[in-house]
């Protein structure tokens, strides 16, 4: 496999590619030689039981966990490796940062910066990483607050707003980086049930109108069915089954998928 240089501008065939990626925590294999490809603008939903490793896929892509084996390619560029003298070697932090700029992530527990107001949370990345001026970053942030329906929360601190509002600020913060790939890690799991709807509405809207590639880990099956182009059922570090949402939810082929869906849908 040959890496492409960072300046490649044309759209690659795959926006995200995992090639035999292995991640272990001690003896526990979380990703077992995972192969996964995500097309540009594709909305991929990953489902599976807790502890199956689905969040780790996102965390590896966000460089929050470094895999022990395999290659991760984002927008045509190796994420963890770089080519030197015709050989792939471990990439330096600078290379990783440059490739990582294509990716942004929304976390289960929001992870907003509590000492900054909502708008400062959103403008921090564009100002410090993308080099926008204060006014440019603010303009971009205000537009995003409008999109996620939070114009009245702009100057509030995270402690002063609800969980649903916090998560929408977190979505705005990730979007402000204008990433090519957005990762959503169980973004409604930490919310009170009555606040889930407002966040899912924002995500559905986003999925419909954006050209961004989205990888979404969720337990909200109906939402997954609505917005996904493709659903991947993941368990014990491997892809059990994948397919179009309607097909996978209504007629799963694998026994493991059937059991999982039965358990989750019964609970709903």
């Amino acid at each position: 496999m040959v890496t492409q240089p960072e300046h490649v501008a044309e759209q690659p065939e795959h926006m995200v590619r995992f090639e035999a990626v292995t991640k272990r925590f001690g003896d526990h294999v979380v990703l077992d030689e995972l192969d996964l490809e995500v097309a540009p603008a594709e909305k991929l939903v990953i489902i599976g039981p807790s502890g199956s490793g689905k969040t780790t896929i996102l965390r590896v892509l966000m460089t929050l966990e470094r895999p022990e084996g395999g290659h991760v390619i984002v927008n045509g560029n190796q994420l963890y490796h770089t080519e030197r003298n015709g050989k792939l070697v471990r990439a330096r932090e600078r290379h990783i940062r440059a490739v990582r700029k294509n990716v942004s992530m929304v976390f289960q527990h929001f992870n907003l910066f509590p000492h900054k107001t909502a708008i400062d949370n959103v403008t921090l990345g564009p100002r410090r990483v993308l080099g926008l001026s204060k006014d440019e970053a603010r303009e971009r942030a205000v537009e995003l607050f409008d999109e996620v329906g939070l114009t009245d929360c702009i100057d509030k601190y995270p402690a002063q707003i609800s969980g649903g509002q916090k998560q929408r600020v977190a979505i705005a913060r990730a979007l402000a980086m204008r990433p090519k790939v957005m990762l959503f890690d169980e973004v409604t799991s930490a919310l009170d049930p009555e606040l889930v709807g407002e966040v899912l509405r924002v995500l559905a809207e986003l999925a419909e109108h954006t050209e961004m590639t989205m990888l979404i880990v969720t337990h909200e099956m109906r939402f997954a069915e609505d917005i996904a182009d493709r659903v991947v059922m993941f368990d014990e570090g491997k892809i059990v089954e994948e397919g179009e949402p309607h097909e996978l939810f209504s007629a799963p082929r694998e026994e493991r998928t059937k059991t999982f869906l039965r358990a989750v849908l019964d609970r709903d």
Partner: protein
């Protein structure tokens, strides 16, 4: 340091309080107190900055930085300030030909000594910042410097202000030790006057009162800072 008062003639009426004598020695004690405050303030200035550098260095992924820093911190925390000051004052000139003014050595000694304590406070503050905050910084692709400057330290430092404040007050009380290396701190001045006059009551009582006069406002100032910076919302 050259206190001029304290003539043996005044060494009369031992055991009773002599207001005239107290009044006479006050300017010298005040000068000594001023030197003491300078040592404490400059020393803590070093300690607050160096402590932060040490705390960050101790978290380095590079062993050759992390291990020596950890060793130096533990070594200095395990030895008395007085021994460290003697080392700077006696060993440096004798063995390394490094001769520095005693005042400079006192400031440096106190600064490095307290830096090792403040670094531990900073470390506790840094460790109290949730992992999710670091991860959010990574997800925004912030550089390491920006992550520290805009995300981690603004959360970590306010949380350790009470501990740092206690060190500020403690350093003020430790600063007189510098009289052991000939710096004219309030204690040095007091000892000198006492040795000349053989009167101790006024000398050490006044020295104590001067300390109170400085350390109580310092403690109040620290509490004020805690309230101002402790809660950003």
């Amino acid at each position: 340091m050259s206190p001029v008062v304290g003539s043996p003639v005044l060494a009369q009426g031992r055991g009773t309080w002599d207001w005239e004598f107290a009044w006479e020695i006050l300017p010298d004690l005040l000068r000594g107190m001023w030197v003491t405050v300078q040592i404490a303030v400059l020393g803590m200035g070093i300690a607050l900055v160096l402590g932060l550098v040490l705390a960050i260095a101790r978290r380095s992924r590079v062993h050759v930085i992390r291990w020596p820093v950890g060793f130096v911190i533990e070594f200095i925390r395990s030895t008395p300030l007085l021994v460290q000051l003697y080392f700077l004052f006696i060993v440096l000139p004798q063995s390394f030909d490094i001769v520095l003014p005693a005042f400079t050595l006192a400031v440096a000694g106190l600064g490095v000594h307290y830096a090792c304590y403040t670094s531990e406070s900073y470390r506790a503050g840094i460790e109290s910042v949730e992992r999710g905050q670091w991860e959010a910084a990574t997800a925004l692709s912030l550089s390491k410097a920006d992550t520290w400057r805009t995300v981690v330290l603004p959360q970590a430092v306010p949380r350790v202000i009470p501990a740092l404040g206690n060190y500020v007050v403690a350093s003020l009380k430790d600063a007189p030790i510098a009289s052991a290396i000939t710096v004219g701190t309030v204690l040095g001045v007091a000892d000198y006057i006492q040795s000349r006059t053989f009167r101790s009551m006024e000398v050490y009582t006044l020295a104590g009162v001067l300390f109170l006069a400085v350390s109580i406002p310092a403690a109040i100032g620290v509490r004020y800072l805690e309230r101002r910076l402790g809660n950003p919302t």
